[in-house]
Amino acid sequence: MEAKELIARRVAREIAPGSLVNLGIGLPSMVANYLPAELGVFFQAENGVVGLGARPPEGMEDPNLTDAGGGFVSAVPGAASIDSAMSFGLIRGGHLDLTVLGGLQVDAAGHLANWMVPGRMVPGMGGAMDLVSGAKKVIVAMLHTQKGRPKIVPECTLPLTSTRRIDLVVTEMAVIEPTEAGLVLRETAPGIGVDDVRAATAAALIVDGAVPQMELGQPAPV
């Protein structure tokens, strides 16, 4: 299985029925493909819709309805259009159940850096700082390493997105939970051992007894 599909399928299992979820651009947006419709999950796009739907079929595109990546989307029955102040009011106000975001680095304190590489990549934070500070739960969905270099590090060297401790990191190798005591290794991916995860992680991992294997839920989508 491709790494990103595995990550998206594992994250999908974290989503509670009936919750309001904001998925970041790229890998996190794949999570929506692995959620059973009967879960009754609503998606928010922070540019101003609660009740984001699938990509429209050819011919049904509406230039007045895009997601936060600027691509065509649809709205589900029961959707609401809102302005940016209301959209972030509900995020900042703690009404968003979950956000899933990509990451450049996560550190031992559970801090996330995902918006800037000084001097090289300075696109801006968009809504990431508001989402990490305001959502009830924050999951980081990212590849475990970049060009062989660990992205889970003792302390972020890149500018932080927030000092809020994120709730869970899901990679193609492991599920890791940042806690007050440090990063706890909760699960490993099929075929991956605890030592493999340790070798690819620069921060210390807490291993408490046997570590179960990741369960992936729904198979490939439509």
Partner: protein, 231 residues
């Protein structure tokens, strides 16, 4: 007072000056005031500070004002789709103040509501918090962010009546209402102007009190990503 003008150039007459601050609606290329941006290019106004979530793309939207070097400073949350922006920023020709997206929206809303500042958790402990007042409420740390009051707002709606009462379409609403609210003068472009009474008062998204000048025009509505479902 008649708010309806013949075109964008006429609607901006007497409102622009070098060094001014402008708040612009739109998210990416969705719901941007295309016609008013073109008229700003034509006006030749210089050294503008613009509060806008993004800065268009190369050659379209606010990107046109970059090509003509009319922008001195941007207040934005995301500027990743614009090579000319990056070039001007990295070479020091253009100033940039990154604002978290929700903070930027709330700064505009606050400015339009007479709120000079507000406290938010967003940005605490990051680069965004540097130099800002910190204050604890109920054991949590917040930073002070200032409301924005712009010399001019340029926004785009779907429909408005001649008093400026406006209705937006779906996600083309985005920053347009808060941007409209924070301008000392607000100029709005719409796809259709209707008579008072044609819009249901309960369906108005922005009351006309925030809108001072109004034009109707054709919009290109360029899209950033042509994403469709493959059958």
């Amino acid at each position: 007072m008649d708010k309806v003008y013949s075109d964008a150039t006429a609607a901006l007459d007497g409102l622009v000056f070098d060094g001014m601050t402008i708040a612009a609606g739109g998210f990416g290329l969705c719901g941007i005031p295309e016609l008013l941006i073109d008229a700003l290019v034509e006006s030749g106004v210089k050294d503008i500070t613009i509060a806008s979530n993004n800065c268009g793309v190369d050659g379209f939207g606010l990107g046109k004002l970059l090509d003509t070097r009319q922008i001195r400073k941007m207040l934005s949350s995301y500027v990743g789709e614009n090579a000319e922006f990056m070039r001007q920023f990295l070479s020091g020709e253009l100033e940039l103040e990154f604002n978290p997206q929700g903070t930027l929206a709330e700064r505009m809303r606050a400015g339009g509501c007479g709120i000079p500042g507000f406290y938010t958790r967003t940005g605490v402990g990051t680069m965004v918090a540097e130099g800002k007042e910190h204050k604890a409420f109920d054991g949590e740390t917040y930073i002070l962010e200032r409301g924005i009051v712009a010399d001019l707002s340029i926004v785009k709606a779907w429909k408005a009546d001649t008093t400026g009462n406006a209705v937006f379409r779906k996600t083309a609403r985005n920053f347009n209402p808060p941007a409209a609210m924070c301008g000392r003068t607000c100029v709005m472009e719409v796809e259709e102007i209707v008579e008072p009474g044609a819009l249901d008062p309960d369906g108005i998204h922005l009351p006309g009190i925030y809108v001072h000048r109004l034009i109707q025009g054709e919009h290109e509505k360029r899209i950033e990503q042509r994403t469709v479902r493959v059958a």
